[in-house]
């Protein structure tokens, strides 16, 4: 049976279309979810896409966290539902306390938009299990507030528990502490990533096909997961 992967649209979401397309190219059925509808419609996993939900008012992701769909997603994620937050989705996951730390203004204050090499360091997560440890991938990064910060104890714990999923290689585009590009929760089902794997899934539009691995990983994870 084809896995069904939900993609949430908030007011101001930008990359929900590309995320749904990446899900389809990976071989799953994308299911569009609406911020105002708490029903997840039986999806097997959820992607929170990039963009500027609620105009980035107050703080990026601060208001999206209180959307009806997020209340359901937070509960489901605590129960093991695979959730991938990309860019604004990563910010929302931090604001919802599903992931530690916060994303702040890029240290150089410039919006950064470029193809970025990442090193995948945690391959035990629901979204990275098709990568090799240490594998380098090329994925677009585009953010104004992608600087990951957390206190030293949190950073040390992330490192010790192998929860730094990916790091920037060849230049840190936003000043993120310890070059962190992606992290996961303790269970490995929730991953937040600043760069955009959904923009690197086919040769016509992306710099590589490396982003596809995130979406095929969740399918592999779902096949192995108990029903």
């Amino acid at each position: 049976m084809t896995a069904r992967v939900g993609v949430v649209t908030f007011p101001g979401s930008l990359d929900d279309g590309d995320a749904a397309r990446a899900v389809r190219i990976a071989g799953a059925e994308p299911v569009r979810l609406w911020h105002g509808d708490p029903d997840l419609h039986g999806v097997d996993a959820v992607v929170l896409p990039g963009g500027f939900s609620y105009g980035d008012y107050l703080r990026c992701g601060a208001i999206a966290r209180f959307a009806p769909v997020m209340e359901t997603i937070v509960d489901a994620a605590r129960g093991g539902l695979p959730v991938l937050g990309i860019c604004n989705g990563f910010q929302i996951l931090c604001e919802a306390h599903l992931l530690p730390g916060a994303l702040t203004r890029n240290q150089h204050l410039h919006f950064r938009n470029r193809d970025q090499i990442l090193r995948i360091e945690a391959t035990g997560t629901a979204w990275t299990n098709t990568f090799q440890p240490g594998q380098e991938v090329l994925i677009p990064v585009k953010n104004g507030e992608g600087c990951y910060v957390a206190d030293a104890a949190t950073l040390d714990r992330l490192e010790a528990e192998g929860r730094v999923v990916a790091r920037y290689v060849g230049g840190n585009p936003n000043g993120s502490q310890r070059d962190i590009a992606a992290i996961t929760n303790e269970a490995g089902n929730v991953v937040g990533i600043m760069p955009h794997p959904e923009h690197a899934v086919e040769a016509l539009t992306g710099p590589s096909l490396d982003g596809l691995g995130f979406f095929t990983s969740v399918l592999k994870h779902l096949v192995g997961a108990p029903a």
Binding site: P100, A102, L109
Partner: protein, 87 residues
């Protein structure tokens, strides 16, 4: 009607690139005696009844500030001290 003012500031250890950019612009104004600038956010809350500092603290902790990176203070001010006051 008195309002509750919530001041939200980045924690001291969090880099404030906006504040730095402003500080770096000051010499072009001819100002050379400013050591640093930090930028925060002021929020005014008007309750339907009496100002409720505990409620304001809860609002600030859950929504207005992100305690991971920001500190906040709450205080009650009289209407003529707030931005919406008629002069």
């Amino acid at each position: 009607m008195p309002r509750v003012v919530v001041d939200v500031m980045l924690k001291p250890e969090i880099l404030d690139p906006q504040g730095q950019a402003v500080a770096n612009a000051l010499p072009r104004l001819g100002v050379s005696d400013v050591a640093s600038v930090r930028i925060g956010r002021r929020i005014e809350i008007e309750f339907t009844g009496e100002p409720d500092l505990d409620r304001a603290r809860e609002i600030a902790d859950k929504l207005l500030a992100n305690p991971v990176i920001e500190d906040f203070t709450v205080r009650v001010v009289e209407a003529d001290e707030t931005a919406g006051a008629h002069s």
